[in-house]
């Protein structure tokens, strides 16, 4: 089965395979660099979990495909700084023979590393960073955007809330590339559905105290306070909103990017009732449960976030493409990946578009009440499934220069 699929692909991709047949995996080693936040604000979302996910993918690939090349995984901490991230990327590509960089949370870093990757003709698989610009105006033939993006979050959570009557919004926005993109994409959804934006505040990343901003949101009388931020910022905002009686006063919070680890940190008491959109939850089906148990048993019982799942899925597909294309050349492998359908236990069947967007369904979840949760990490109720073809921005609307405009 696998072989027939491969043959048909090879036949279909005559031109690429003709050059790929001569090429080879450089020095017989495929080196994967996990570039994440290992010590800061996003280290529970990315961090050691992403390294583990990459290693699990390598393990599974070696078991199933028995490749004739070696695979190594290295990792580094970009400290959420674009300059640090691009310096590591340069050093990895130039002297350490890294072939592909994965994870890369913090959109500003992801955009910078994507640029370096393009210059060097290597490959990058983003699952941590969120800005939809990665497959929009800043798209690259060397980058694939995996787990989620700001457009998907905005449309998943945003439109569900507006349709349920939450038609006036106030944004608390993290003041960097990701926050701006999330705010822009959500605002568009709100306006499109007939809602209004009454105000916005842009706060520095890593703000401890949100009370001033929450007071402004409160006095705006907006029905929904949209949190266009992530990690510790979102957690502090939610926690302090409950202190200021925001929800009791009739306003609601919309967490536009919330990970499972964030809910774990806030506790169900304060997080209950929140709507959020994710593309992966550990308790979806037997496949996701089995993988997540394996993950948790290796990482102090912590359950995987959608970023971790994205790293696993992306690395697995990348390795399959290297194997199929017989090369670890970045540009060629990314092209190869786009021609092959994706399939793994975490995201199910999917595909990769020409603009570098990985396509799979997204899910709208509601956070359970403490009384509904039976086990640790039993946090979400599925509210709606957004089919793959609707979950992400239509390619024609992204303004990606790689895709010819019609």
């Amino acid at each position: 089965m696998k072989r027939t699929l491969l043959c048909s692909l090879l036949a279909g991709m005559g031109l690429i395979t003709a050059t790929a047949a001569q090429a080879q995996v450089s020095d017989n080693v495929v080196k994967i660099g996990v570039l994440g936040d290992m010590s800061g604000l996003y280290s529970d979302i990315s961090g050691q979990g992403s390294v583990l996910a990459a290693k699990m993918a390598v393990e599974d690939f070696q078991k199933s495909n028995k490749p004739n090349f070696k695979i190594e995984v290295v990792s580094a901490d970009h400290q959420n700084k674009p300059d640090v991230g691009s310096n590591i990327a340069r050093q990895w590509y130039d002297t350490d023979k890294v072939d592909v960089i994965v994870d890369v949370p913090t959109s500003s870093v992801a955009l910078a590393v994507s640029q370096v990757t393009r210059e060097k003709g290597k490959a990058m698989l983003v699952s941590g960073g969120g800005s939809s610009d990665l497959t929009g105006k800043d798209c690259s033939p060397n980058t694939i955007h995996w787990a989620y993006d700001t457009w998907m979050l905005a449309n998943g959570t945003g439109s569900a809330i507006v349709k349920n009557g939450g038609n006036t919004w106030f944004f608390l926005t993290s003041d960097y590339a990701f926050g701006h993109a999330l705010e822009r994409d959500t605002e568009a959804v709100v306006l499109k559905n007939g809602g209004k934006v009454l105000g916005k505040v842009r706060h520095p990343t890593g703000t401890q105290d949100f009370s001033s901003f929450l007071l402004q949101a409160q006095s705006s009388k907006a029905k929904i306070i949209g949190l266009a931020n992530a990690g510790g910022d979102t957690i502090n905002a939610i926690k302090q909103a409950s202190e200021f009686g925001i929800v009791k006063g009739g306003q609601n919070l919309a967490g536009l990017l919330i990970f499972l680890s964030d809910i774990h940190g806030i506790g169900l008491e304060k997080a209950q009732g929140l709507f959020l959109t994710e593309t992966f939850y550990w308790d979806m089906n037997e496949g996701t449960r089995q993988w997540s148990r394996r993950f948790a048993s290796a990482l102090k019982a912590k359950h995987p976030t959608m970023t971790h799942a994205g790293v696993y899925s992306a690395v697995l597909h990348y390795l399959k493409a290297v194997d199929a294309g017989k090369t670890d050349d970045g540009t060629k492998t990314i092209a190869q990946m786009k021609t092959m359908p994706t399939d793994d236990p975490l995201f199910g069947k999917g595909s990769i578009r020409a603009d570098g967007r990985k396509i799979h369904p997204a899910y709208l979840f509601e956070v359970k009440k403490p009384s509904e949760s039976k086990n640790p990490y039993d946090y979400y109720k599925l509210r709606a499934t957004i089919p793959a073809e609707q979950a992400f921005r239509p390619m024609a609307e992204g303004n990606c220069p790689l895709v010819a405009k019609k």
Binding site: S39, S43, R202, H203, G231, G232, E243, D262
Partner: protein, 294 residues
């Protein structure tokens, strides 16, 4: 009525919030000022010790079932005791050397402590609930004031003023100040100067831990919380004048206010504004607002 386009009611709310944040700055910079003023140690571990205070409260509640009020009492004592150990075993060897060595040692300690906690508990942080008696809030007309925040402002004002009083107005404080001026003479009067210095460091650390316990219900109990705050607190101490107790208290509250106002007019700059003020103050008064040139 409006001031620069902001309704006066909203402005009052922001000022009150600024004052509350300022009380954390004051409490933390007070500990730093005490330690620097009397020991000449630039205690970079202060942020980590503040974080230890918050974790102490979390652990007492979750491992021993002791609530917030016990934490307020026990945690500063325990964390202060670790301060005593650090002073006895490490810092006391550095007094004859340049300030920089103390700074480097405490900075290293901070990194180690934070690293250990991050490994164990992750970066997202842990939830800590407010004590029942302090939940809820009061509607002041211009804003909704959570009772807990009101409590923080009063508690830290009391602690700050009591500390100032002890150091500046009592005999014990007099000995302390004399010992830093001329330890030999004070020792000759039969006062155990090394022990006094040890206890002073322990006290400064306990103040950081107390601030940590008070912060736990508002912020996430997270390994990063001290590192995020310490630079700001240092700026507060520098603006107030290194070692000046009153300077630390007044600038702590004052900068909280200024930061609060910045969050209304230009929120993007709210974390930078303190450093801009620091630059201006250092240019005009290099010893800080309340400092004296030595």
């Amino acid at each position: 009525m409006e001031i620069f386009g902001i309704p006066i009611q909203a402005m009052m709310g922001q000022l009150l919030i600024g004052l509350i944040n300022g009380s954390f700055y004051a409490l933390l910079s007070l500990g730093l000022a005490v330690i620097f003023g009397l020991l000449n140690i630039i205690n970079f571990a202060h942020g980590a010790q503040y974080m230890l205070g918050a974790f102490g409260a979390y652990l007492l509640l979750n491992k021993l079932g002791l609530g917030y009020w016990w934490s307020l009492l026990i945690v500063p004592l325990v964390v202060g005791a670790t301060g005593v150990v650090i002073e006895r075993t490490m810092l006391s060897r550095l007094y004859k050397l340049d300030h920089l060595y103390g700074l480097l040692l405490t900075f290293g300690l901070a990194l180690i402590i934070q690293g250990l906690f991050r490994n164990e508990y992750g970066s997202t942080g842990l939830p800590y609930s407010m004590p029942e008696q302090l939940q809820g809030g009061v509607n002041l007309g211009f804003m909704f004031l959570p009772i807990y925040r009101g409590w923080v402002i009063i508690a830290s004002l009391v602690v700050c003023l009591a500390t100032w009083y002890v150091i500046e107005r009592t005999k014990l404080g007099g000995y302390l100040r004399a010992a830093t001026e001329n330890p030999q003479i004070v020792q000759a009067f039969g006062i155990n100067v090394p022990r006094m210095i040890t206890l002073t460091y322990g006290f400064g650390v306990a103040l950081a831990a107390l601030a940590g316990v008070m912060a736990a219900p508002i912020y996430q109990v997270s390994p990063q919380m001290g590192a995020d705050l310490i630079i700001v607190v240092f700026a507060v101490v520098v603006i107030g004048g290194m070692g000046s107790i009153m300077g630390a208290i007044v600038t702590g509250f004052g900068l909280g206010l200024i930061e609060g106002l910045t969050k209304v007019f230009y929120p993007e700059a709210s974390t930078t504004v303190i450093f801009i003020i620091m630059t201006i103050v250092l240019l005009i008064r290099p010893a800080g607002l309340f400092g004296t040139q030595k």
